[in-house]
């Protein structure tokens, strides 16, 4: 990185970094500052920020530590997408940038803002504590250090990928549920919970699971997959979320939560009709009392606007339902078999 001189030299471009600024001591609301520097091919967003901080404006505040993609400190939004500044190439971002030559840098979402690009990580740590994101070993502390647990490569592979998580909070920032409900468990915490649950050394997966199926827990996820798409370590986070749900229904018999009932109702509708019977879905999920208390006003409004779904007897089965049922049975059997071998 050199001073901006010859624009036409190969492998160099003038780039404007539009940086989110907010200092709680003086600013009533956030604003953006533009910094234009010449960037060489191969330079990351973090190196550009470091350059700006060292040469133009030392007051820009952001976290950075290992600068090698393993510590997770420099999570931020670059052109709208949460990622690590240290592993993001400026030229890659420019190639996809809507405004040519401009890179917008903002703090992560869904965590309290402290200053500029720095957000408070404490809420995430508190959730890790709340959902016991640790192994509570079946071995008493006094016996530790004497012999190893024998663990198969197969078991190791079950949580290997999940242990790649560096808690950068990109998934937290992208999560659509957290935008509406800050108390929601968070994708990263679900991932860690899953990693603990499938570890045979852990003694408290029952208790952890019981906590996970409560309000703001695993059933609140709406499968938008944004966590998984944004994961800087390409961890299949949704597999973990599905894994916890399956575990809750199949193994722990936690069929009495609204989330599990919702899932069961979906399954049964799809099996019988090939589509949803929406009119009774809230009753089957949350019960008649809850539905009357919470949804009656909305139902009345919907009736007034003639937007009510048809009552159950009038819901016709989808076209080709016979072939579909056959496929459905085959699929569920396949999943069941898969589970058996998985749990062995």
């Amino acid at each position: 990185m050199t001073a901006p001189t010859d624009q036409h030299r190969e492998g160099k471009k003038d780039v404007t970094f539009r940086i989110f600024r907010f200092n709680p001591q003086v600013d009533s609301k956030p604003y953006f500052d533009d910094y234009t520097i010449q960037v060489e091919r191969g330079i990351t967003v973090l190196r550009s920020l470091n350059y700006i901080k060292e040469h133009i404006d030392a007051s820009i505040s952001f976290r950075a530590f290992c600068q090698a993609g393993i510590c997770g400190s420099c999570g931020m939004r670059v052109n709208g997408l949460s990622q690590l500044a240290c592993t993001t190439q400026v030229w890659d971002v420019l190639a996809k940038s809507r405004e040519p030559g401009i890179i917008k840098v903002e703090p992560l979402r869904n965590l309290p803002l402290i200053k500029d690009l720095i957000v408070d990580m404490d809420p995430l740590v508190d959730k890790m504590k709340h959902y016991s994101n640790w192994i509570d070993s079946t071995m008493p502390e006094s016996s530790m250090g004497k012999k190893e647990f024998l663990i198969s490569e197969e078991e190791f592979l079950r949580y290997d990928k999940a242990t790649d998580c560096i808690l950068c909070a990109s998934c937290v920032s992208e999560c659509s549920i957290l935008r509406a409900n800050k108390e929601y468990v968070s994708p990263a915490v679900l991932l860690k919970s899953y990693r603990m649950n499938v570890d045979s050394r852990d003694a408290i997966h029952g208790e952890r699971l019981a906590e996970l199926v409560k309000d703001h827990g695993v059933w609140d996820c709406t499968h938008c997959y944004r966590c998984q798409e944004s994961c800087v370590k390409s961890i299949p986070i949704m597999d973990a979320i599905h894994g916890i749900r399956e575990d809750a229904i199949e193994l722990r018999g936690m069929k009495d939560t609204s989330g599990s009932k919702h899932a069961e109702a979906f399954m049964s509708d799809i099996e019988k009709k090939g589509k949803l019977v929406e009119a009774t879905l809230p009753i089957r999920t949350n019960g008649i009392v809850w539905t009357l208390q919470n949804l009656l006003p909305m139902a009345v409004k919907m009736i007034m606007k003639r937007r009510t779904p048809p009552p159950p007897p009038l819901v016709k089965s989808a076209k080709g339902i016979k072939i579909f049922r056959e496929m459905f049975r085959e699929m569920t059997e396949h999943v069941r078999q898969d589970h058996k071998s998985h749990k062995k």
Partner: protein
């Protein structure tokens, strides 16, 4: 603030193990861990390879005794043999303990912890979890500390020990979130802040924060530093960032090439070529650059690590991480182009002088991990022994401090003293008369160290290095902090880190200049051989009236006599 029994500075492997062990030793103690980052961000996470322990899972005939010998030989006989005994004897127990707590180790076919061969080890005894061993160990320790309810003060930057007479009364630290300078009165303090190799700045593989804060704090308090001149260089760091391209790339058949297109290792290690020992390969790259056979770039001179002949399939299947790293950090795909590399500083063997129980000469102050020098690594550390060091001695520090805390009075730090520390810290840094740019000073420090106190050292170079550091220290007195805010003033923190690096750089250069021999990582062109008669001893560096005063300490010998180190 209520006085603590133990204040631990640093939340990496050593600090977290110390916290856990101290709580186990005496659950009634009031313990706090301070860290300038969230503990799970600590540099322990960057250790990929693994931790050595003679479990005998892979090689049934491996023994603790063999591990001891390999470590002593690797240290070029500068390690203290009783300390190495502790390190290696405790190793199997501590690896199993971590396993029992939930660390996800890779597994052997018989379901035991997997082990692999590592440089300088006679048997495959390096326990690992893929290429993320340090990361998974750090996660496990952090999780266990959360489980135990350890009290964390995250994003607190440690400034100074509060010293009265021969003992410490606690710690002074800045809360980054508020900018407030706070007192942590404590019976005991454990320093576990990691290494100082980042002083080589762009010529270092270390995290930005490995600035030797703990060592500098101890040094300013009058505690001696030991063997500071021993800094390990890794042969293949990426040109721009200094990040490591692991030995695996050469193991798979990568070539090192100079600007004339030569595989230059033929000149230095005809048989082993690119797979010679780490210090030899580092010296070879440096020689090529010094003799003008390197490539030029604005980011400095470099050489090529060429993998293109290995083919896309092999690179994608065996070196996927390296490929990803090269693309992310250098913008180079090793399938199509050679990787620009040069040697990079990556580990500090030296540190705070401690005994085998992690005690320093100051009552109530302990040190562990890369921050300390027991010494188990001597003049050269073996791969797989650094994670082990932080675990074993982190635990010992926690245990010792917990046992001894009762001996010391509860610390107390007066408001007046606190004010002095604040004034010392801010010392005119915002004033308009202050004009020096910290970024420039930091980069110049890295440059002079790499050039004059780097892989090859020589009397006139070292003299130059010492002068440069002195000038930089002088210029630092006029350093300017432009950010005047209290909340998360990273500008101020980086300036204070620079101050720590400058203080320590002086001890590294002084030690290197005094030691007129070549041993382990310390290579003197003017004194090319090991000189046991004169130099088989530790260097001590103590601060007296602001200056480095060198002393010495004998090496503790044991079952192994001095031998020539050949591989």
């Amino acid at each position: 603030m209520k006085p603590f029994d133990i204040v631990i500075v640093g939340g990496g492997g050593a600090g977290l193990y110390a916290a856990m062990e101290a709580m186990k030793t005496n659950p009634s103690l009031n313990i706090a861990v301070l860290s300038k980052v969230y503990p799970n961000r600590s540099h322990t996470s960057a250790a990929q390879g693994g931790a050595n322990a003679a479990l005998g899972n892979k090689a049934k005939d491996d023994t603790v005794e063999m591990h001891i010998f390999d470590t002593i030989k690797g240290s070029d006989y500068l390690a203290d043999q009783d300390a190495v005994d502790v390190l290696c004897s405790e190793a199997p127990k501590i690896i199993r303990e971590l396993e029992n707590m939930g660390t996800p180790w890779s597994r052997m076919e018989d379901n035991t912890i997997a082990q692999r061969p590592f440089g300088g080890a006679g048997r495959p005894r390096c326990c690992y979890c893929s290429d993320k061993t340090g990361h998974t160990i750090l996660q496990t320790l952090y999780e266990q500390c959360l489980k135990k309810g350890v009290i964390f003060f995250n994003e607190y930057f440690a400034l100074n020990l509060s010293v009265k007479g021969s003992r410490s009364r606690g710690l002074i630290a800045m809360n980054m979130k508020t900018g407030n300078v706070e007192a942590f009165p404590a019976r005991t303090v454990i320093l576990a802040t990691g290494g100082y190799a980042k002083m080589y700045w762009n010529r270092s593989s270390n995290a930005a924060g490995n600035t030797g804060d703990g060592q500098a704090i101890a040094y300013r308090a009058g505690i001696p530093m030991k063997d500071m001149e021993f800094v390990q260089f890794h042969p293949t760091g990426l040109r721009k960032s200094g990040l490591l391209v692991t030995e695996g790339a050469r193991g798979e058949g990568g070539y090192l090439i100079n600007r004339n297109g030569e595989r230059f290792m033929a000149r230095y290690a005809k048989e082993k070529m690119e797979l010679g020992p780490r210090d030899l390969v580092s010296r070879s790259l440096e020689t090529e650059i010094l003799e003008g056979r390197g490539f030029d770039s604005p980011a400095g001179k470099y050489l090529h690590l060429d993998l293109t002949h290995l083919g896309a399939d092999l690179i994608k299947s065996r070196l996927p991480q390296i490929r990803e790293m090269c693309m992310q950090f250098e913008g180079v795909d090793p399938i199509d182009e050679p990787i620009p590399v040069r040697p990079t500083a990556h580990y500090s063997m030296g540190g705070i002088d401690t005994d085998n129980f992690t005690r320093t000469i100051m009552e109530g102050v302990y040190a562990a991990g890369e921050c300390a020098c027991v010494s188990v690594h001597g003049a050269n550390r073996l791969g797989g022994n650094s994670l082990l060091d932080i675990l074993v001695f982190g635990r010992i520090a926690g245990h010792t401090a917990a046992e001894e805390a009762g001996k010391f009075e509860p610390g107390n730090i007066s408001e007046a003293e606190l004010k002095e520390h604040v004034e010392e810290m801010r010392g005119g840094m915002h004033a308009s008369g202050h004009h020096e740019r910290y970024g420039e000073l930091r980069e110049e420090l890295g440059q002079t160290l790499a050039l004059n106190v780097g892989i090859f050292r020589e009397a006139s170079l070292l003299k130059r290095g010492i002068q440069d550091i002195a000038e930089l220290k002088e210029r630092f007195k006029k350093v300017r902090v432009t950010d005047t805010s209290d909340v998360f003033n990273t500008n101020l923190m980086q300036v204070l880190e620079l101050k720590n690096m400058l203080d320590l750089a002086e001890t590294v250069a002084a030690g290197a200049s005094a030691r007129e021999e070549s041993r382990g990582s310390h290579t003197r062109i003017d004194f090319p051989v090991r000189d046991d008669a004169k130099w088989h001893k530790h260097t001590l560096a103590t601060r007296v009236k602001g200056n480095v005063v060198l002393g010495e300490k004998p090496v503790t010998m044991g079952r192994y006599e001095l031998q020539e180190r050949t591989y």
